[in-house]
Point group: C2
Chain length 339, copies 2
């Protein structure tokens, strides 16, 4: 299997991305194509240990341009025809790669994926899913930022797509909830109330509304919401986790005994940090495009990039795209039967 990695995107530059690619190929039988400036990438590879067995499974495909993090995605994709993220998705289109991964500008990654691979049939709007750690199994939330103003059919399609994606966790019949502000039917805004009825009438395993406080309980496998709400939830969670650890450390630093206690408990803190770290779960899959694409956090470490590459490989292996197509076709049949 061949994964194309946009080796120019992200906040840490090519070195961290290449390290991630090396970790991935060493851990598995995967091949990784680094897409970006040939000279820059080759220089980084040359610095690695010669004879490293991983090197034979990492290749470079040249791309002369880069989309910057703060560029307008639409403009950038239109103007920079040879941008690394476009070339990466073009490799997927041509069948030279099985999936593409980027830690660059996420709007541009989404735009490049749609431009090169196209929207799937029956999908009104492709979206971005995200994996949240919970007290039990991870939960898949969709959409987390691609679509800010949604209609019920969009949320319905997110439910179908995220359910198919959750097969990578070997979940047979994923339980689907809709993010709302009360458990009972009839609670929520107009969008939620209409989507609720649509999901309830479908053959999906819909379990009803999920409140904010239940997201981390892990009692559902999939949570649907519009991209505005989902993105706020994602970033609020990140921000709260960081702020809470900071506040706890502030309190610990006030006392010598507490500091000693912290040192003794440090392995537990590390295990905890690993458990809540988004990087452990790879990146955010783009769902609804004809192929496999993953967006990583701009701040992704080599470890996070490795996990995203493995996640992309798993999506290919588990035929997530094909499963989404089947799910969508079934839901269209369901609706036609209802009419």
């Amino acid at each position: 299997m061949q994964i194309a990695l946009d080796a120019m995107g992200g906040d840490h530059g090519p070195e961290e991305l290449i390290d991630g690619a090396m970790l991935a190929v060493k851990k598995t039988g995967l091949q990784v194509t680094l897409v970006g400036n040939q000279q820059v990438l080759q220089a980084h590879l040359d610095r690695l240990r010669p004879g490293d067995p991983g090197l034979s499974r990492v290749h470079i495909v040249h791309a002369s341009e880069v989309v910057e993090m703060d560029e307008s995605p639409v403009d950038a994709i239109r103007k920079k025809k040879d941008a690394s993220v476009l070339v990466a998705f073009d490799l997927v289109r041509q069948g030279q790669a099985d999936a593409a991964v980027s830690a660059g500008n996420s709007g541009a990654t989404m735009a490049a994926a749609v431009r090169k691979l196209g929207r799937m049939e029956h999908v009104s709007r492709p979206g971005i899913a995200s994996i949240f750690p919970t007290l039990k199994k991870p939960v898949v939330m969709m959409d987390v930022g691609a679509n800010v103003d949604c209609r019920p059919q969009h949320l319905f399609q997110f439910a179908v797509m995220a359910s198919a994606f959750s097969h990578i966790f070997d979940i047979e019949r994923p339980r689907i909830g809709i993010l709302s502000i009360g458990e009972e039917v009839g609670k929520g805004n107009t969008l939620v109330k209409e989507t609720y009825l649509r999901l309830a009438a479908s053959s999906l395993n819909f379990v009803g509304n999920v409140e904010g406080r239940d997201v981390f309980q892990g009692n559902v496998d999939v949570i649907v919401c519009d991209g505005f709400v989902g993105n706020i939830c994602l970033k609020l969670s990140e921000g709260l986790a960081g702020a809470a650890m900071q506040m706890l450390k502030d309190e610990i630093m006030k006392s010598t005994l507490a500091k000693i206690g912290y040192l003794l408990a440090r392995p537990a803190f590390r295990a905890f940090a690993k458990r809540v770290d988004y990087a452990e779960y790879g990146g955010a899959p783009l769902l609804g495009i004809n192929g496999v694409g993953i967006i990583c956090h701009g701040k992704s470490s080599a470890e996070a990039i490795k996990n995203a590459i493995l996640e992309a490989a798993k999506m290919v292996e588990k035929q997530v795209t094909e499963k989404i197509a089947i799910g969508l076709a079934e839901s269209v049949q369901d609706e036609e039967a209802l009419v």
Copy 2:
């Protein structure tokens, strides 16, 4: 000053609420009127230490009915004319109390406040504000659940009202942000983009969009959002804080050294828990009604009830209602000047 407490609402029953009232009167010169079943409340008071100096400042006003937590707010308020929450707000209307506090059904508390005290002039929709702990000063978020489908003028009014409320923290010119999914102007859904322009054109101290990850940084004093998004943020934060502590404890319990470390650091953990505990900040103020009302979490402890009573007293003392009226009148003048 006299605060009316709905002594029948909440998950823990009258005892916890009465304990909260006693804590409040002992700490301050306040008087508290307990509203609810005379016999039940008197029996609880009789169990307290006779001659307790606080007892002389706690009184009972009888109300024969109670709105249950799971009742439809609108139906309950219509049918149960003698519900404790209605009687509490009626005391405010009659001038026999300066403010009302309830830990009961929050929809019913909102409905009772509007029914008895009425909406303020220039307010399209009263709302609920909430105080979030941050790394710096607390931040006031509004709306957190009263209004799920909002228009720009509603969010604009939330900004005016929450700013006036933030005077209880002695903030002179509160910095106002709007919750969105990117910092730049033009990021967000339609509602946010339209509200942005309206806030930017006003004389308010508007600082722009605030992302989910910045909520806990404390760089703004007020965050506005619609009640659907705000309620999800509030409950997600509660849920995440709880789940994170659970995960950390799970990890600590796996090792003896970590357990010893935890014991040594426990005072720091307690100080941390206090810092992130919503109860420390009192309840959620109802803003946009002609008077002072506070909704407490159903699970509120006596400590939380005490803090809510003190918060209500502070709102009266700082003339929050009058400040909101002035702010709204000014914003209406601003708009007329623009036309």
